[in-house]
Symmetry: C2
């Protein structure tokens, strides 16, 4: 059987979560880069993989094997068959990988229905709160100019509020009690990995903005470090590209600022040093 | 053991999905109304049940029973214990109920990992697409004036676009092939119920707006009818309050329109007839 294909762009936080999860759990996979900045996610080729044009997505041979056993009453169209082979959406992928690969430790997605239900509750919350706040903020402040999109000050304001509220909820509800991971657990789950990768995205807003949100949340900083240690060195490796993007953005911003204030090339170089 | 408590406001679409699911599957439960219009979800009493102040939420005696078996390394605080007893978020609740009540038919949340993974993919998509579009539109156009919130034309425009795109995705991806339910299934899953309850919320925008979105989506109309039939009469019963709210809103709008155009009381009454 072919190894699972993971279609990803490491600059996207859910892509990183899936890659880290595979590496930590020694799941054999082939990474296929879908460059979001080059709009490769909207290409007809990728639309054949994922009609919704989003990363991450996986194509897993198990799907194909299993398909033969599933009885469908209706005839399947070509599009339906194509979709059968892929799985999009970060949380759905993590749940699936944790369920079908026997080597994955139980704490990532516990079989116990009680604990699993609480993890599901956090994952559902993630979409409409932390992700909506953080991703909208990053999109409107850091990425929009590069992607040629219009920014909205109102959207930024709402996203900042939602992000701050979300960080507060994580601390007061799920990190309450001083445990190493969410829900008082001594081991990380897919919710820890997914949420921390989301928060890591704030890096590309620069240290000042990141600290404005995270500085007052000591429990979150400790928890993020716990997740990083539990998944090291794969966590750092998967985030390398993000830090490269951050360095490039900061350097561009500094150059733009210098250009505005310092007309001479000599001064510009000096200020970079 | 006490029956499961379901904290809900039937005017909220995820609340209705949970209530219909319980009724169809003959899950014994006690419904506790949390009136969103009276801000009861933000009351200190309800915050003790769900610190995030959202409906639906459930308190299930099984949680308490099971808790004794779970070994936690860290000492638990009062807040942690309280949260252990409740489960918020619609999808997480539906997954949990489908998993712990043996009488629930498999098609609602299939044990088969292949089918389940595809249902999870739709549920995840729901949060950031259909729900974000539909709920934002309803909030900004129908509910904001009643709740004293500021509306945003830009948010309405974006929500309308996202809603229309989402309806298109449902038809072209998950209803492709002409099956009765999503993913080519002959029986509904929790994804069918959850998404249809979301779309039903468009009713309170009035028939014209509803038809503007749904009129061109014949597959969706047929599918909604299939879900309604599969869960009848509980579907209709759970939606009664929504139609009452709709009637009141339309009547208020008509009265306001009459007041604006007809200064005499006599005329106003005549036009209402």
């Amino acid at each position: 059987m072919q190894p699972t294909k993971v279609y990803a762009d490491r600059r996207s936080q859910p892509s990183r979560a899936v890659i880290i999860f595979c590496r930590v759990n020694q799941i054999e996979f082939e990474e296929v880069t879908v460059d979001l900045f080059k709009s490769q996610h909207l290409s007809p080729q990728f639309r054949k993989i994922n009609p919704m044009g989003q990363v991450p997505a996986i194509v897993d041979g198990r799907f194909k094997l299993f398909e033969r056993k599933v009885i469908h009453e209706q005839p399947r169209t070509e599009t339906c068959n194509t979709f059968d082979l892929i799985l999009a959406k970060n949380h759905a992928i993590l749940r699936y990988l944790a369920s079908v690969f026997p080597g994955v430790a139980d704490h990532w997605y516990p079989a116990d229905l009680f604990t699993r239900a609480k993890i599901e509750s956090i994952l559902d919350w993630h979409h409409s709160n932390l992700r909506r706040g953080a991703a909208t903020l990053v999109m409107h402040t850091a990425l929009a100019p590069f992607l040629g999109l219009r920014t909205s000050p109102e959207a930024v304001k709402q996203a900042e509020k939602l992000l701050m509220q979300s960080l507060g909820t994580i601390e007061s509800v799920w990190l309450n009690g001083g445990a190493k991971f969410l829900l008082g657990s001594p081991q990380p789950s897919i919710a820890d990995l997914s949420l921390v990768c989301e928060i890591m995205q704030l890096e590309i807003l620069g240290d000042d903005v990141r600290d404005r949100f995270l500085g007052a949340h000591e429990k979150i900083l400790i928890w993020m470090d716990n997740v990083k240690r539990a998944t090291s060195p794969h966590f750092e490796e998967a985030h390398e590209l993000l830090f490269q993007v951050k360095a490039r953005m900061l350097s561009n911003n500094a150059a733009a600022a210098n250009q505005a204030s310092e007309p001479s090339t000599k001064h510009k170089i000096a200020s970079k040093l």
